[in-house]
Symmetry: D2
Subunit: 393 residues, 4 copies
Amino acid sequence: MEPTPDDKFSFGLWTVGWPARDPFGDATRPPLDPVETVHRLAALGAYGVTFHDDDLVPFGSDDDARTKVVARFREALDATGLVVPMATTNLFTHPVFKDGAFTSNDRDVRRYALRKVMRNLDLAAELGARTYVFWGGREGAESPAGKDVRAALDRYREAIDTLAAYVVDRGYGIRFALEPKPNEPRGDILLPTIGHALAFVASLEHRDRVGLNPEVGHEQMTGLNFVHGIAQVLWHGKLFHIDLNGQRGVRFDQDLVFGHGDLLDAFALVDLLEHGGPGGGPAYDGPRHFDYKPRRTEDLAGVWESAAANMRTYLLLRERARAFRADPEVQEALAACRTAELATPTLADGETVDDLLADRSALEDFDVDAAGERGYGYSRLDQLMVEHALGAR
Amino acid sequence: MEPTPDDKFSFGLWTVGWPARDPFGDATRPPLDPVETVHRLAALGAYGVTFHDDDLVPFGSDDDARTKVVARFREALDATGLVVPMATTNLFTHPVFKDGAFTSNDRDVRRYALRKVMRNLDLAAELGARTYVFWGGREGAESPAGKDVRAALDRYREAIDTLAAYVVDRGYGIRFALEPKPNEPRGDILLPTIGHALAFVASLEHRDRVGLNPEVGHEQMTGLNFVHGIAQVLWHGKLFHIDLNGQRGVRFDQDLVFGHGDLLDAFALVDLLEHGGPGGGPAYDGPRHFDYKPRRTEDLAGVWESAAANMRTYLLLRERARAFRADPEVQEALAACRTAELATPTLADGETVDDLLADRSALEDFDVDAAGERGYGYSRLDQLMVEHALGAR
Amino acid sequence: MEPTPDDKFSFGLWTVGWPARDPFGDATRPPLDPVETVHRLAALGAYGVTFHDDDLVPFGSDDDARTKVVARFREALDATGLVVPMATTNLFTHPVFKDGAFTSNDRDVRRYALRKVMRNLDLAAELGARTYVFWGGREGAESPAGKDVRAALDRYREAIDTLAAYVVDRGYGIRFALEPKPNEPRGDILLPTIGHALAFVASLEHRDRVGLNPEVGHEQMTGLNFVHGIAQVLWHGKLFHIDLNGQRGVRFDQDLVFGHGDLLDAFALVDLLEHGGPGGGPAYDGPRHFDYKPRRTEDLAGVWESAAANMRTYLLLRERARAFRADPEVQEALAACRTAELATPTLADGETVDDLLADRSALEDFDVDAAGERGYGYSRLDQLMVEHALGAR
Amino acid sequence: MEPTPDDKFSFGLWTVGWPARDPFGDATRPPLDPVETVHRLAALGAYGVTFHDDDLVPFGSDDDARTKVVARFREALDATGLVVPMATTNLFTHPVFKDGAFTSNDRDVRRYALRKVMRNLDLAAELGARTYVFWGGREGAESPAGKDVRAALDRYREAIDTLAAYVVDRGYGIRFALEPKPNEPRGDILLPTIGHALAFVASLEHRDRVGLNPEVGHEQMTGLNFVHGIAQVLWHGKLFHIDLNGQRGVRFDQDLVFGHGDLLDAFALVDLLEHGGPGGGPAYDGPRHFDYKPRRTEDLAGVWESAAANMRTYLLLRERARAFRADPEVQEALAACRTAELATPTLADGETVDDLLADRSALEDFDVDAAGERGYGYSRLDQLMVEHALGAR
């Protein structure tokens, strides 16, 4: 249960580095030096580190300061072997973004936001990132009339397509991943769920280069089933990255350790990621990225305990999911549920609508009451999953 | 404030006709004769009536019974002038659908479901319906492993594309509208929000013929902003139909009278539908369809009171929205919010990415702190909206 | 992991006997004969069976029919050794209760409700029940002005005190347990949470005879922490009975199998019930009562599978909780959290307010910044709990 | 619609003075001088101003600084006529309180918290406050095993009783008001709802001196009906103070302007406060205290706009509620709902349980089906309320 880089675990600088300032309280921890973070994460068995521009290069740094910071960071990466699989932009902390970045009512703010992203795309490419995440935390509104949502979606599309064109033009091997969230800090955020973001992506000129970075807690904040959501993202071929953490249902954004929220959902998620692919193999081979916050009650020892806890819980769930899939009783229970039958098309190969209409067994001679009496056997299968989660089989 | 058919108000037979059986209680009202419903709705000023197949023709009726029922119904339509703008299928009441209709694990159930829809499509076309709604209330799961969500989405797509092909083949002038819902009666329902359904539609072969039928309460059950949702549906060109009702937040599906849930959201919704189009005209010209349930405490007098209440509240909100848009102080407040500036593209006409990079005013010379100090003036605008909602201006 | 009567597991007749009618669908299972249920539950290892009056004696039965039904039921109890630890009244199914029972606006309905309860209290006493539950599912409102909430609370108090007086007068050894729920079937239900019910009980004349019957899912429907709630009930000495089941957060009432909702909360709950008492022993010694519904997709085989699953999951969690409490690393982690220090009064024995004011170490000389730097070590403890839940230690 | 001090509107220094730092963003507004705030609020027509100790006297100030600050503040009060009806303690911003104040696992933190409160109680008394509020935002937990909830409630009770004894001893004319909140900033907060706090108060030694300060948004964060909650608080005689604001359902704490969340609930609340007392008069005569936050998008002009908006919306709703109560159609609709009948005891004056048992009309001869057919007429009443809310009658 010791993580290794092969497990592809990654962490944002802003996660372990969160100083624990919250809406009602001051920071309880000192800032972390990114270089120390890289060494600590490497020692814990992580594979990658990710960052917002301002996590690494403090906002307002001049070019000299910037160069030095980046050089020190690269050195730490080289020394530890940690990679930078993903980067992103801070478009939410500074007051200038209070009404949005790509969708601020103010055009000069929108232009500034594009430039801020471009500058960090250069750095991301330089550091070898393959994914660039867009979390539009300020792209939203509280005012029903003050924000024209359709105009905002036009500007959002303009921004993503412009930035995708930039990446293509520069020859960067970078794909974009949008991260939905329903609310907080804005009253309502645009592209609030996986679904809204998928629909938006389908409308882009550069739709092939743009996918999603779904986060466990962001979907659970609406009560939606995260595993169903990820299954739909996979179905659309758009799982470009994933943010793992924990959340205790519909409330403020908690960013708990992975598994410390809904444990059964975490089990089902790991089962999907690891066994949802062809032949029962992985459905996703990218980084397992933890976007969590060590609690405000913890000191630095607690920070590193909690970082390790994310990885350990994932590995335990992976082991449980393997045993679940390998259990002959589970196979038997799945057969009783006719789960595999859903993969068979409803129409036979070559069957036309008129053939279906001519098939009396489908309607006229179908014994609907008898069919309604069949049990689906889900109770047994679900209990088997709970018992595997509890390590009891 | 008296509704007329020009207002395009429509009601489902199952709304006023709900016998008020709930999960903990028996029916408190007798069934309504659809013919009586047609006459009552017409007398109240409605424009249309809609139905599930089984609302009109009782489940299991033979062809003779069916013909008689339909003939009586047509007569009532002809006598009153009421139209049938929309129809839909009951794929949820009978036990045969307990694991889904298009996505049941049982293939014969899926075939039966397709045939049940086809049969009612013929009737819908015969009665002149232009929209056919699909609410997949049983297309979902409680069991994490028992339902293969990606296979289910394959079958869902197969079903919708097959049925669309049928409509095309028969030359019916019918478009499809999917109605999302997050949960209830299933633990989790597929295509749980407007967003998920829009993304699904974009993946269909017959995507041009398929849009959405969003329902106020279904989105509010997840805490999502319904008005934002409708704006995104409009942005995608997919608002084919709409279900108006009321809901008091994240909880069970309440189907209250329109406006009896979140009144400010109802105001903003009517404002969007009536004034969100080009030049401030309507953004939507289809039926204003009420999908509500008269409360279980009400007798038949209360049923017709509540039906009238839906229309009256809509008309009052329409009047309030007109006054809001016409108020010079509102215009001034909108200008202060720079709301219209969001319609201006972020890049100038013909501006390239390299032009943007060369524009020092966008980054290097941008006074980010000064820009961060600007107020957006939303408080004033929102208070003006509240005061218009209260009829106080 | 085989349950025995010593484990004190009990089930309502209405749980396994639920015919699976839901707001959108007809029954999928036939009614169960209560006598068969008694035999089945006994065979599964249960200890008790509970009922609403109408579960056992069909609504409207005459005295003869009633006598026969009760005699057959007693025979089954005697044959199996199953006990009836609790009974309750159906004050929600019949239309007469549509506006409430004890708090209906109609006085004759309120009087009828009292009599219906009294009749069943006689039977409950005859069958040896020690607890009588009141779930006021219809005591609520949707109409803000139509229901006078304070008058309703007066009538609620009158009803409970009147019925308690009846029990005292008849010499029945029965205590009352109120079961809170926030909404569904009413828009809002009176006494919506554990807290509201506790406050109400404190206002009763017969407050000593009245406690609570909290249900997992009913509190989780509001997003409240069920384990915190039970701890407060225990603190007030009012945990008279408990309803165990599962719920997936803020949504409709799901009544899942215990543990099939929030598994970590279920772990913490079992830990509290089994180890929250003096010396680490049980904090509650009454029935572990499952108030769940076998899913609508299941046939009768699934019904009995799911009944067994409730008990098996409880036993597994009990085993996990024992191991958690016995683990020396857990003890060490608890010490690091200073959890036990909270049991020490804040004022020293005999310390007065003036003594505290004179203690400069409490304020003037208190190094507030140093104290703010201490970590509480919860991350490590919580991960130990997750790993025990996963059976990984 | 111009507020005057007779309307008893009050504001916290921390409301208009919020610098708009949120969990994802830096402050967007400069700090406000409390003296300026007093003058501004007075100019807007407010009656009172309230404060946390640290709002007025910066944390860590020495005695000299403290004296000067207080003197300037008093001067402003004297100059404007504004009163200080309530004060409270900041027990949440400094890291020392990260695990709680009265219920921190660390005893020295608990002692410090008591002293911090005592110091400010002296100032509150000096400034004439009659109510002292306790919002225990940090009294909670995320860790299931790390916090002993029953020990925490013991300490909470010890703290409140100790402080009440202090107030009694000093002869201060101050009552305490507890303010519940379910979560945020802690994962779960103790005394999470109105109900839990009422039950806790009933367990105190000084229960007569302690009541509640319920906040609109805090209850709406759990989906509970705020108006029902306030009705129960009034029923227990415990509405000592009230916090008015707006919230859009189950999500993070929004602190919107009063009425800018659930407008119908705001209407019903004002109706209850103003017309819920004997003879239709006020049920509450204390301050109408706004605990809201001007949005982060607003500059100082927006701050004062939003402050005025709270008062204006209250006054408009008060006017609407007056018209509602005075409308003869409303009176008629209420009569049809039999709302007043609920005030009649269920048992007749002097009727015993045996009398009730002997009354055959209550059970044996009660026509339960006929009674079940009666309609309650709520639909008409509710529509009248909606139309009054819309200013349409």
